[in-house]
């Protein structure tokens, strides 16, 4: 069954305010797609448009190729897991799961079968007669998943459902969600401000800022090859060095970074010579010994933190502060606060992005 979702040039306006700038996006059938962005970026608005709680001002939402314009929320083939789960507290666990089937007029015996099967899927067999309030946070989470899956949706919408859980449970639930997605083959659309969640679970991630989709890519591409300054600084840790582009040459550019001198990095076609730009280098790309094809930035260590598997350093340069991450084996006695070091990076690991680039 085609369970693709197509945001066909949608725009969402609330009065004068444009919550979603014109967006065109195809989410494939069976894909795990995440919208990642800070709060207020419009990601929940997108979810509300897909589920039918909001009707886009312009454009159309298509599910499985069918236009959803004018189709009310209760008639769409979508199912949502809410941030606060929104389980019905006055119903038992089984009644919660069976609610969607009850609405569809499924017989009691069939409903019971379905809820037993789903409880098994989420590893909570035999909890059907319990009250929702008797369950722990993680168990409630799984009931919410079971309830949403019971109606056999084509698209499952998840609105930051893990944010209320503690770290350990959150990591466990990530794996479980991924597993359920593989088993059911349903299209998952996941909303989060937590990049770890988005990167670990998703097939593709759409990074959003201020109502605009900044970049859509698989997690590795997103991390290695950000297309905008926003994506570069929002996804993962990054060091940004401001400067002015001097020259471009075969996908590489040279920048005048003031007191740090001339630095080079990869560049995207939208940057021109003379533009203000930012050179991004990830903390783990710095080396203490220079090799071939490396550039060096002199700096002074401000702080050293030993984290077990790795070290983090904060260093001051003539122009800016840098965060550095080294493997624990690179630790030496000379790495102390106040020591002078030279930080090197491979030219192809750095990326130069203009201030206002959009995809």
């Amino acid at each position: 069954m085609d369970s693709s979702v197509h945001l066909d040039n949608v725009v969402m306006q609330f009065g004068e305010f444009t919550a979603i700038q014109k967006t065109d996006l195809q989410i494939e059938s069976g894909e795990f797609f995440s919208f990642l962005g800070p709060s207020g970026c419009g990601k929940t608005t997108i979810l509300n448009m897909i589920s039918g709680f909001l009707e886009p001002t312009h454009g159309d939402v298509k599910i499985g190729g069918q236009s959803m314009r004018g189709v009310p929320a209760n008639k769409r083939p979508t199912s949502m897991i809410f941030q606060n789960l929104a389980l019905f507290p006055l119903m038992t666990v089984a009644e919660n799961i069976e609610f969607g089937l009850e609405v569809r007029g499924v017989s009691k015996a069939e409903r019971k079968k379905a809820s037993d099967r789903l409880l098994e899927l989420v590893a909570l067999d035999g909890s059907g007669s319990k009250k929702v309030t008797e369950l722990s946070g993680g168990q409630r989470q799984r009931i919410a998943i079971a309830r949403a899956l019971a109606v056999e949706p084509r698209v499952l919408l998840l609105d930051e459902p893990l944010s209320a859980l503690d770290l350990k449970l959150r990591q466990h639930m990530r794996a479980e969600l991924k597993d359920i997605q593989r088993k059911t083959g349903i299209t998952f659309i996941y909303i989060t401000h937590d990049q770890g969640e988005a990167l670990t679970m998703s097939d593709r991630v759409g990074v959003m800022s201020a109502g605009r989709l900044q970049q859509v890519a698989d997690p590795i591409t997103l991390y290695r090859d950000p297309h905008t300054s926003f994506v570069a600084s929002f996804v993962g840790e990054n060091n940004g060095i401001e400067g002015k582009v001097l020259s471009l040459n075969n996908g590489m550019a040279e920048m005048d970074c003031g007191q740090l001198g001339r630095l080079q990095g990869r560049v995207h076609n939208t940057v021109k010579a003379g533009d203000q730009a930012t050179l991004f280098i990830r903390p783990e790309h710095f080396r203490l010994q220079a090799e071939d094809n490396m550039l060096t930035i002199p700096s002074k260590i401000e702080e050293v933190n030993f984290e077990g598997a790795y070290l983090t350093l904060n260093a001051n340069t003539a122009a800016t502060k840098l965060a550095i991450q080294l493997g624990a084996h690179q630790f030496s006695e000379s790495l102390v606060a106040g020591a002078d070091i030279s930080l090197s990076y491979k030219v192809e690991d750095a990326i130069i992005l203009g201030a206002a680039e959009y995809v």
Binding site: P72, N74, T78, S79, F82, N84, L87, F88, L90, V103
Partner: protein
């Protein structure tokens, strides 16, 4: 409670406050009621005979109701009509309460609340008289309906119970709206969205999610409306016709026209006891506990 007050305000003030409350409750509520209970079990005598050999306790005053067919009929009619008033008020109030709590923007909800409250600054008698005028045979409502062509000759709203029902629904609507509004407002809006998202239409969403949540509020509103309606005097005496008397009017007659306080007190207690019993029964049927209402 005394210790808490003492800790906060000192013993002098604590004794004062508790004392005043005690005087209020004992002297102005408990003692008069006890006096009325005492009255209701004694015969109505001339002043000279009070305390004499004829002044004995008996159930005669209570038996009167069950031997007087007309009074008994009015008694049950009062209970039934109060049920009707409660039901009608609930039907009118629930959509308003839901709109105020979940649909309207905060500004609109505030405006609506003000518009609902302002009429209640006017005395109940005056408001009821306004309805008397509106519902009159040659009144504006009939004129409007005639002009619109819905009816061909005026309706006698004020004969029978129609006028009384309309007047009471209007008089007690706020007592129904506010508890239901409070209850619905405390419902997480995501619950409604979740029900919609799982495919429920509006009726099922209300039946399975909103109403179960609002049940304590609905119960509170219904109890208040029912008690007020059963004990109402002004509305039936103004909007009722001779054929639609309310039991409170009979009680009034015993006290102030018959001059038989003993008989009146017995009737009043019968009404009170039956109303409380009826409410207890309804709460049992709908599985509402006292704790739910006190929330």
């Amino acid at each position: 409670m005394f210790n808490q007050l003492k800790a906060r305000f000192g013993s002098g003030l604590a004794v004062g406050v508790i004392g005043m409350i005690a005087i209020w409750i004992i002297a102005m509520v408990v003692l008069p009621q006890l006096l009325m209970v005492d009255y209701s079990f004694r015969p109505n005598l001339l002043p000279a005979d009070i305390g004499g050999p004829k002044d004995v306790y008996s159930l005669v005053n209570y038996q009167t109701l069950f031997t007087n067919k007309i009074h008994l009929e009015i008694f049950f009619k009062t209970i039934w009509s109060s049920v009707l008033v409660t039901g009608l008020t609930l039907i009118v109030s629930y959509p308003i309460a839901f709109y105020l709590a979940k649909v309207a923007t905060p500004q609109k909800a505030a405006l609506c609340l003000v518009l609902l409250i302002i009429p209640f600054w006017i005395n109940e008698i005056l408001r009821t008289f306004a309805w008397y005028i509106i519902l009159a045979y040659k009144g504006p409502l009939n004129a409007l309906l005639l002009w619109l062509g819905f009816i061909h000759r005026p309706i006698r709203f004020l004969s029978g119970d129609g006028g009384v029902l309309i007047g009471m629904v209007y008089a007690y609507i706020l007592f129904m709206i506010f508890p239901i509004y409070n209850a619905i407002e405390s419902l997480d809006t995501n619950q409604i969205k979740a029900a919609r998202n799982l495919g429920a239409g509006w009726i099922r969403t209300h039946w399975r999610v909103v109403i179960p949540h609002a049940k304590p509020g609905i119960a509170t509103g219904c109890i208040m409306t029912f008690m007020l309606a059963a004990g109402s005097y002004a509305v039936p005496s103004i909007l009722g016709s001779p054929g639609s008397r309310w039991f409170t009017q009979i009680i009034y007659n015993w006290f102030f026209e018959g001059g038989d306080w003993n008989q009146g007190a017995a009737y009043a207690f019968l009404l009170l006891v039956i109303c409380i019993g009826f409410i207890a029964l309804v709460m049992r049927v709908f599985k509402v506990g006292l704790g739910d209402i006190a929330k």
